[in-house]
């Protein structure tokens, strides 16, 4: 029964990772870049909410009301000032600049908020759980996060398929030059995609901060988990991201059930195993021959 319990907890934990990974997946899908500062931007959102909770004495949920629009603006400006230029400079430059940003954000947070561990109060739902048997319980707050993740992914899916903005996003993702020809401003589309991505990151960051403690070094860890979820689920697929998050979450909780110290390690191992399996499948069985692989573009 403890194993069933840890699988259930893992599935719910997957919601946190899916929410974190949504923006990463969106930016990769639209611009083919991986924003290495994604986890740090999520953490920045958490710290902004923390600031509001501490000084304006509002609840963490209410803090989302100013934090989310703020994150939209940050994302828009980030794209217009830094990423746009990086994208034009080649495939490596976005990685280098977003890595630089990761270092800058992490250290600035440490400077302004001290290296101390903080957390946000999730309210009465925090400790609540549905007790099914004595050994089996479903934490309500984790279920809420999974619900929000599904909601965000669903809304994003609807926006992508049903709205004008979504059509422009998909057209630009498929072929930015062709999209330009039919009147889509790809720079504006990219800026919108990044704005949405940073807002979902901030949303994920705030819920992460309510779920567990956080400190200024948490950004890279969140990036790695989000990325693992994206890769396990298949790069660029939104619902795949949810599946990937759940697989990662279950790996971690089951790993932790074996030994609490195996939590992160189990996730890394499953991620690397998925990579190896995919490599073998992609290269057509085991006939991996050096240098003769078709180069995908």
């Amino acid at each position: 029964m403890t194993w069933v319990n840890s699988v259930i907890h893992g599935i719910l934990l997957g919601g946190v990772y899916a929410l974190l990974a949504t923006g990463l997946s969106l930016m990769f899908g639209v611009m083919r870049i991986i924003n290495l500062a994604h986890g740090s931007l999520a953490l920045l959102g958490a710290y902004m909410a923390f600031l509001l909770v501490e000084h304006a004495h509002i609840s963490a949920y209410l803090a989302l009301v100013p934090v989310l629009p703020g994150a939209l603006v940050v994302g828009y400006l980030l794209q217009r000032t830094m990423l746009e230029r990086s994208l034009r400079a080649g495939v490596l430059v976005p990685l280098l600049t977003t890595f630089g940003l990761l270092i800058v954000i992490g250290n600035l947070l440490q400077e302004f908020f001290s290296p101390d561990v903080h957390s946000l109060n999730p309210g009465s739902i925090g400790p609540a759980a549905w007790r099914i048997t004595s050994r089996l319980s479903i934490p309500a707050f984790d279920a809420l996060i999974l619900g929000i993740a599904i909601l965000v992914l669903g809304i994003l899916q609807l926006v992508l398929t049903r709205t004008q903005i979504g059509r422009e996003l998909r057209a630009t993702a498929a072929d930015p030059d062709a999209a330009e020809l039919v009147g889509v401003d790809s720079r504006a589309v990219y800026a919108r995609a990044t704005a949405i991505a940073v807002a979902t990151a901030a949303l994920a960051g705030v819920f992460f901060a309510m779920r567990s403690t956080f400190d200024p070094t948490a950004g890279p860890t969140q990036l790695i988990y989000a990325f693992e979820a994206v890769v396990i689920g298949g790069m660029g697929s939104l619902w795949g991201t949810l599946a990937g998050g759940i697989v990662l979450g279950v790996s971690q909780t089951v790993g932790a059930q074996i030994n609490p110290q195996y939590f992160a390690l189990a996730g890394h191992v499953v991620f690397l195993a998925v990579l190896v399996a995919r490599t073998i499948l992609e290269s057509g069985g085991l006939r991996v021959r050096l240098g003769l692989r078709r180069v995908a573009t």
């Binding site: 990769f28 083919r32 870049i33 991986i34 290495l36 830094m82 230029r85 990086s86 400079a89 080649g90 495939v91 490596l92 430059v93 976005p94 990685l95 280098l96 600049t97 890595f99 630089g100 940003l101 990761l102 270092i103 800058v104 992490g106 250290n107 600035l108 440490q110 400077e111 070094t217 890279p220 990036l223 790695i224 990325f227 693992e228 890769v231 790069m235 110290q261 992160a264 390690l265 890394h268 191992v269 991620f271 690397l272 990579l275 190896v276 995919r278 490599t279 992609e282 050096l290 240098g291 003769l292 692989r293 078709r294 180069v295 995908a296 573009t297």
Partner: protein, 344 residues
Amino acid sequence: MTAVAAPAPTARVERWTWLSGGFTAALAGLIGLLAFGPVLWSQNALNNLIQLYFLVVLAVMWNALAGYGGLVSVGQQAFIGIGAYAVVFLSLQHSLEPYLAMLIATLIGAAVSIPVAAVVLWLRGGAFAIGTWVVAEAFAILVSLDPNPAIGGGTGTSALIPFNTRYTPTQRLNYTYWASLGTAAVLLAILFVLLRSRLGASLQAIRDDEGAAASVGVRVLLGKGVLFVLAGGGCAAAGALILAWQLSIQPLGPDSIFGVNWSAKMIFMVLVGGLGTFEGPIIGAIVLYLLQTYVSSSGVWYFVMLGGIAIGFALLLPRGIWGTIQERFNVQLLPVGYRLRGRS
């Protein structure tokens, strides 16, 4: 049948010039001179130069990956950590001579990089970057969970005993100085020869356009694999030197031996010096060394500065200091490529 005379060449391809030949000879002479450091300079100066040398090693290795293989790794700290821990394991647990252990640690780093390459080299771009990072995190966790008292688990370990039982502090400083100078010189020489070989030409083709290179028969994966193994061994050597220099290490956290801050330093040095140039990373290492020595060597603002300057260079001066000079004056001091010159 009349033989068609070949058109007279109007340009010639050159590799060595008087300038680059002279400079390469001068650099070799400089390394020879630096080898006399322990008899010429104070302990403090030697201590600083050791830092410079391992920074050069790290920058040159990271540039070999990114500048020539197009592989942006943020996980090379995996091999730094493996190199450092291998020295502790061999010298503390198995009482091996520490400097011999450093040599073996380098080979261990290269050996470990082979299976890692088999996994991560299938990834491209950002996926490769985070994939290497995950590998580094996994190694860090494995080391931190190791119950072996020599490894010390999450609290870290120290190589104080193996070094201090065999050597006086002055001896350790001098030997570490020579080891780091020698490592930097040997790795630069290996990379120089490698890039000038046939493989070097294919590596630069991979960097410029991987698909096009593959289509003309360049063995892309082999080229990348060679670079990855070289960088794995080189970073392990740097890790071994860092251990000999600072003696105690920890496995966890951004500032540890497995920490991502090493990647920040490597990216800074290469971007500032000039990505994809042979001379650039050496300049970048000197810049970082000067910053560390005269501005700040640790703490929050140090890394904010590193990250900020790296972003600035990536956006405003993507060729870095040396790449810009090279472009403007058409000079190459350590010739790894070919140049076309109009006949005079």
